[in-house]
Amino acid sequence: MKGRAALLCVVVLSLVMCFGVLFLPTDVQAEQKTVKIGALLTLTGSMATVGRDLKDSIDYAAEMINAQGGIKSLGWAKVQIVYGDSQAKPHIAVSETERLISKEGVVAIVDQYPSATTIAATSVAERKKTPFVAGISYADIITDRGYYFTFQLEPPAAYVGVAKAKFIDWLGSKMGRKLTRVAHLFEDTDWGQAVGKSQREYWKSNGYDIVVDMSYARPLSDASPLLSKVKAANPDIVVFQGYISDNILFVKTGHRFDLWNVPWLATGTCMPPAFLEAVKEQGEGLFDLNMWAFDISKEATAFNKKYHAKYQKDLDGNAALMYQSVWVVKEGLEKAGKADRQALADALHKIKIEPGPNLILPYEYISFDKKGINAGGRFIFTQVQNQRWVTVYPENHAGSPVKILPEWKK
């Protein structure tokens, strides 16, 4: 008899447990749901220091989304980030993209740079019909192929030459003389070549004199040969686009050649905290084309304060782009209403994110055209002042006045 009663209890309890789930509040049920987003970063290899830095911002984005409850249209599903390591090598990026899509079942992928890995990875994503948000890379070929599943957050390379020319003119007005003699150094992979081409074409047709126009193979073993040529050409400004290790060599060697007597302008790859730690006071006065900085607005300062409290570092421009990329996928999923790759891609082609809590970048908007380009993207220009990046241009975003180094006046 006792045995029968015990068996009955077990059956009743099991039934209660099974059916009970159906009567739980929906938000409790939703805690079981997750939607996986892949993040392809350079976690090891020559750009590991950058990838590790960006990982924090992606984790932070997922944390923020989940803290708000998750994705509403998916029944408050939580976001889970699955990482892939491209090692900054295209063939590894291909296999990692395959793994993220086929094995991990991610609904979309966000990606950093270099462009060479983005170009390779987007081909796989297109074949597998998986939305791919290129967070930082912007070599022309990424969007020129007309891929339906590729979305590029940064403005196209052609914008860089125009934006830099405007900045150089503005800087010249602050220095009290026109800066027309430009020394131009660029690394020779897809990104450096694309930006180099856009700059050269725009500057040449707008009255600038390109006194040095040199590509180089990275990583550089010695920057002296390049910079001795720059020194001899007596430029008004040095503009360079290289990756972080080459940038450090440029700064160190530039000081050795007394080339810091003119302004230097980088192209969005000097902002990682590791760069400033490496060059220390030698970086003072350097300019960088940037996408975000803590001082562009009160909201940004407040946002950075929280980020700094958690990670003990500023959120830099590239990290902000990666943070935003995750939010783009989130907004797409909200619009799609289902965790389906095709539906998400369709939704991403239709979304328009306006300035507000969902858009931390100083963009006019985020909306992708047929080629996947976001035409609402804008650049800002930052400068190292007292070993911290501050915004100096455009003036409506400037957190600090531009610092004109005494040696530039000579």
């Binding site: 220091t49 010695d222 002296s224 040969p225 040529k229 290790s245 450090i248 050795r256």
Partner: protein
């Protein structure tokens, strides 16, 4: 090309070339004595560079003083690696030896990534901001130190091998190991010391290089490839050849960026020379077929 650019290219080429030569001397010594191609040579250098970084931040105010730390460390480290990984493969086929040292290089690189993180490190010396300007030609104090230090170390190494009792043993062991054993030379001990001396070259090169450079776990790859080109160019196992090879690569690099319209062609020029030499004089500039230390 005006004379300033020409002279500046010579200064840059000689300074970088001397460092390439010193790094290559270690490689050529190891190859010349025990016929092993050490694919982990660049990673040894990377570890020595971290030795400079940590001793500079903890012990010495000037990075050049790190020599006191990196030289004994690299000698002992070299002996340890020889005993653990090289001695067991001395009689293996060359392909096995290459694979073991290649694997060792990967282990050392990834170990550095875990232990030291991927952050790029920078080291400065009291001489970092000192320079001599002759006309419009810039010669930094760090370049002069690198040049003199590298040539001096190469000269010392040459003297050890050519004139000392140890050097005679090294040469005997490299010429004919079996005959060396017959006349009472402890060949395995000679191998051990030679390998450690090869690593010591890097212990000297690292403090000379770091004020001009940055430090990262992946930096070794760059120098492994360059030092191989230098060694093959000069003649495998030949010190003077390594010195000449180092200067050729350093000067080609310096003049490449100055003379060529596209800077990216400079590596093409370097490897073009390398391939031509392999085709027409495969034993290297100073090498004779079968030549050794």
């Amino acid at each position: 090309m005006n004379s300033t650019i020409f002279l500046q290219a010579i200064v840059n080429g000689l300074s970088m070339g001397s460092i390439y030569a010193l790094i290559a001397c270690g490689l050529t010594l190891i190859f010349g004595v025990m016929n092993i191609i050490n694919m982990a040579h660049g990673q040894f250098l990377m570890w020595a560079m971290y030795g400079v970084f940590f001793s500079h931040s903890m012990l010495f105010s000037d990075s050049y003083a790190s020599l006191l730390f990196t030289v004994p460390l690299s000698f002992v480290g070299g002996m340890l690696i020889f005993v653990l990984f090289i001695r067991p493969i001395l009689n293996d086929s060359p392909i096995n030896q290459i694979l073991v040292t290649l694997g060792l290089g990967m282990v050392l690189e990834n170990l550095a990534l875990v232990l030291f993180t991927s952050d790029l490190r920078n080291v400065t010396s009291g001489l970092s901001n000192s320079k001599i300007v002759v006309g419009s030609v810039y010669v930094s104090a760090t370049q002069i130190v690198a040049f003199i230090g590298s040539i001096a170390m190469t000269f010392v190494l040459y003297q050890i091998v050519q004139r000392s009792a140890l050097g005679r043993s090294i040469r005997a062991a490299s010429e004919d190991p079996e005959a060396a054993i017959l006349v009472g030379i402890k060949v395995k001990r000679v191998y051990l010391i030679s390998f450690a001396l090869g690593a010591t070259c890097l212990g000297v090169a690292a403090p000379l290089l770091t004020p001009l450079y940055y430090i990262s776990p992946t930096i070794g790859e760059l120098f492994t490839l360059t030092s191989f080109v230098v060694v093959v160019l000069g003649g495998m196992g030949n010190f003077t050849g390594a010195l000449i090879g180092g200067f050729i690569i350093g000067l080609t690099e310096a003049f490449g960026y100055v003379l060529l319209p596209v800077g990216s062609l400079t590596p093409v020029l370097i490897f073009g020379i390398f391939i031509l030499l392999l085709l027409f004089k495969p034993e290297g500039i100073l090498g004779t077929r079968g030549s050794r230390v």
